[in-house]
Symmetry: C2
Subunit: 334 residues, 2 copies
């Protein structure tokens, strides 16, 4: 199959072409950092800044000095943005710039350094989801901030530098380009159809079943019609929800943890224990009120292909797998 498909959410055309020789690059193990020096391991707290918050296995906040934490949040000691200062937007001739103000936090997901099961394990996801929500709620009070991106780099190919399982959270003084693109397109769709684009996609995916990986009562995981990468999988709430934070119902959070862990288990099973992947949460901007056209979602992207000049120069992607076949493979992988 050689087909061009348009991703309705980003308006990006993607080339789906499974007719070329293609070697998946799946033998990328995690960083082999020295456990005795791991800054996220218990006993090495002197390497890192004081924690911001700790959570127990149910995601309840506990004292930062409590040793029985399940999730511990610390500031990144080499942050990509600095927490101090004001934004100060300025011109430099025709250019625009501002101070690099924001927050960069690490959510250590488990006490165990080599706990590969943490990703496959529903219980651990629950605590982490509550922790992420709690951090967003806290940072939302900082009026300099416009957007919070939560993501994970797992494996060297995905940009991991410390192999102890962790999420990262970056709070930005702007809305990042990817999210702005998604918002612009889904707003146009809403203006035209008076319906949420994401809700329409979910409907079509449920009806066709072609690209579904797995679903629960409240969530669906599917391989996008115009996936950029082999085995790319998105998770969305079936109900229209713009904001990740307002998912409060304990049962639904358990369901989200369950479906997330299930997707990760399937990726491991399909692609091997050494895969690298990124996981990103896209929710709506901090200062927006409830909006009808945006729908939060999780994007999980195995890193088994390399960026080249075509991807970079075109902003498109060449996906060497057919999304329906990737979905079938993952569907049958558990």
């Amino acid at each position: 199959m050689i087909e061009l498909r348009k991703d309705p959410i980003s308006s990006r055309w993607v080339i789906i072409n499974d007719s070329r020789d293609f070697q998946f690059d799946v033998n990328d193990t995690s960083c082999d950092d020295n456990i005795s020096m791991c800054p996220f391991c218990v006993g090495n707290e002197s390497f890192i800044p004081n924690p911001i918050a700790c959570y127990d296995k149910n995601g309840n906040r506990i004292s930062v000095s409590d040793e029985n934490w399940t999730v511990k949040v610390i500031p990144n000691n080499k942050p990509i943005l600095a927490i101090e200062g004001s934004v100060l937007r300025k011109a430099e001739g025709i250019y625009d710039k501002m101070k690099g103000v924001g927050a960069h936090e690490i959510l250590i997901e488990t006490q165990k350094h080599n706990d590969k099961n943490v990703y496959k394990n529903t219980e651990n996801f629950i605590a982490n989801i509550f922790a992420v929500q709690d951090r967003i709620n806290d940072l939302k009070n900082d009026l300099r901030l416009e957007y919070i991106l939560v993501f994970k780099n797992h494996g060297k190919n995905a940009g991991e530098t410390i192999s102890h399982p962790h999420f990262q959270l970056v709070a930005l003084p702007i809305i990042p380009k990817s999210v702005k693109d998604e918002m612009n397109v889904s707003k146009k769709y809403y203006d035209f159809k008076e319906r949420c684009l994401f809700c329409d996609i979910i409907d079509q995916e449920i009806n066709s079943k072609l690209r579904i990986v797995t679903e629960t009562n409240s969530f669906i995981a599917f391989v996008p019609f115009a996936s950029r990468f082999p085995f790319e999988t998105w998770i969305l709430p079936k109900e229209h929800l713009d904001d990740f934070r307002i998912l409060k119902d304990k049962f639904k959070i358990e369901e989200l943890a369950e479906i997330s862990a299930s997707v990760i288990r399937r990726l491991y099973k399909a692609l091997g224990e050494n895969i690298s992947y990124n996981l990103m949460i896209h929710s709506y901007p901090l200062k927006e009120n409830k909006i009808d056209y945006y729908h939060w979602h999780i994007e999980i992207v195995p890193k088994i292909t390399k960026f080249n000049g075509f991807d970079l120069g075109s902003g498109m992607y060449v996906n060497p797998t057919i999304p329906e076949e990737s979905a079938k493979f993952l569907r049958e992988a558990e």
Copy 2:
């Protein structure tokens, strides 16, 4: 320095932050493919499809059976798009798709397999520029095509699979997202200012001198204000020119070859002989008439950083080098 800078051409914010530990990944040698099996080497023509065109050292078209070629163009035998068929745009429910129609050609830049000098050598660039222009002129007659992207993947990290020096040309039935983004933003700027955004940028760069790498009478090479990557360098004609093909003056083509080779030599000198990089030519779409707001340019991007979940989730980049310092380094590297 921790600063957010907005790239005026893509409207993308980039984080410039040189305060983090950062290891450049420059020890990525070229693919060590087997020379006796190299499909681009003389003597191995049976491995590849018949050539489309050949050019001598002055960039003049010669017979495809002439053994004294400097540049040889062949169809990619595993193309990302297929040359046969009609585009056939169709819906699939709410999704959009079309046949994967287009062209994918390889421009073999030299007869020598391991000719690293080909990149540093003005003469060779001249023949290749003429060859690229000639191929675009030929493909422009195919009314199914909307855009032609010319690029190079040099080194494994940049997506190279065969180390024999070559450019690639992909002709697309759509305008790719990166170029569309550039056109949308520069069109808005033109509507507001009645001046070309790129021309204004060139003016400011010439006046400030801060980010210039090198210049000639007709061309400028500079590190963009909001560079996505360390040592990213753009080359633009100083005069307003929307279309790469209409650069016809032999002296100007020599100048372009000279400045391109000079930038590549500087990158090798600054980052070592084993760097990987991508080079992309952005020109205006095939079916547009002369436009006042778009300005062709070459983007050269060393691949010494890794994409991670932040880049992918935000569509932004974190550049661990200060563009003015990268520019100074490259300026002094020859």
